[in-house]
Symmetry: C2
Subunit: 266 residues, 2 copies
């Protein structure tokens, strides 16, 4: 049975809203909050530990089947008002369903990296929609996983989660504190980190023969990869373009780079 | 000199808000409204006819240089209040600058199509962000232009314009009432319309040799291309994938298809 909450000042409500709004809070608590019936179900179906389920009466009636499943899995269930849903929500017209999940077991360890796999590394990516879109594309194209530097936008940011369409719950990923050291270690294990740069003078991506065991490194939206990360990579590649190269969106550039990694295996 | 407007019920304000919110209004008036200093400047620099400029005092102080240039080009200038800017704006925190532009000369005629060019056709695409992103990528990759069916989302939708990053003002495009007839006509002029479909049994895009004079047809986000459009196309191609094919975003799929069209020329 769900516990009813009617006050916006309730501690559970405040904690949920904080998880929605603050990456720091998510990191400290090692929890995240997913919004909307589709994302909540993705979390459930992909084995996330569901600590809390919050829903409005209206949502219960509309998404009865899904909410019943979520209820079975959730440790705690709360019936909330529309006003509370608005307070917690990141969207303008919330569906009124939320789950608070534990982050544990979601990121993988370095030992789990397949040295014959194909990976991306995102360095200091700041736009949550880009992070989410890149996760979605990486999964769709069958990449083995993603590395994120600690200065990237939090992938559990609500916008990132929505853009990933649940790929965040499925694509193996690893947050790395020292990307240069990690890439160095993986090079020693015969992997091949590759720096993608907007630079006409380097190897065109179309002339690269991709083998398995590659890590495509993608830098910040404005500044690109740091010098030290470029230096640890053995090679630099670029997307040759006839048009206005500078105007390719970061997630689109990443999609073309990932596509080139897999196109000969597809 | 700018005319001052202080009432939200002023006719100019109401007309501007209507242009922002209604595709029908834009079509009837053959005008559109661009918001934000960057997009307004893109409109100016790409030769759009600027009928009206509206700005707040705050915007005038902050973007003085740009607004001065816009003032020179605009037929009418209005100084508006923050409250009015909020009423007109599509964004949550508006910059307080808007231009109303004439649509004339923005779309091209069928005669202007280069039969040795490379084009995309979008059929019944509904998400404005997808339309904008596809325009942006098409321009970045150096495609020659885009066809849009009349049932596509209006490219002058504010979200589409923002996602296009001004590409809408630069990429030649043509709205077609009867896409089947148009593709038939272009086939008769030796062009090659190609249907992109999510279907494992058709030709993989990686095995297609692209020549100039091709039109890649991309369908609705959920339903894909209509049968009649698929039938008029000589060939069907698909993006082969190792991962979860169905989860590739429409704009990302379009980016990969367009990239395959140009990669051998890049």
């Amino acid at each position: 049975m769900a516990t009813e909450i009617t006050s916006k000042d309730n501690a559970t409500v405040k904690a949920a809203a904080k998880l929605m709004n603050s990456a720091k809070e998510r990191r400290q608590q090692q929890r995240f909050i997913a919004e909307g019936v589709r994302l909540c179900m993705e979390a459930l179906e992909n084995g996330c530990e569901i600590c809390e389920l919050l829903y409005t009466e209206d949502a219960y009636l509309r998404y009865n089947e899904s909410i019943s499943k979520l209820e079975e899995a959730a440790k705690q269930c709360y019936l909330i008002t529309e006003e509370i849903a608005d307070k917690i929500a990141d969207t303008v017209t919330p569906q009124g369903v939320f789950v608070v999940c534990a982050m544990k077991h979601m990121s993988i360890s370095l030992e789990k990296i397949k040295t014959d796999g194909q990976y991306i590394l995102l360095e200091n990516l700041q736009d949550p929609s880009n992070i989410g879109a890149i996760f979605r594309t990486a999964e769709a194209l069958g990449l083995d996983g993603a590395f994120l530097t600690t200065d990237c936008c939090d992938p559990f940011n609500p916008k990132a989660m929505r853009a990933s369409m649940g790929a965040l719950f499925r694509l193996p990923y690893l947050v790395v504190g020292d990307a240069v050291k990690t890439m160095g270690d993986l090079k020693a294990r015969n992997m091949r980190p590759i720096a993608s740069v907007p630079d006409d003078t380097v190897t065109k991506i179309v002339s690269v023969r991709f083998f398995r065991g590659a890590i495509m490194c993608i830098g910040n939206e404005g500044k690109g990869l740091t010098e030290k990360l470029k230096n640890v990579c053995g090679e630099r590649v670029t997307i040759p373009m006839n048009g206005r190269a500078e105007s390719l969106n970061a997630a689109t550039a990443a999609a073309i780079l990932m596509w080139e990694m897999v196109r000969n295996y597809a």
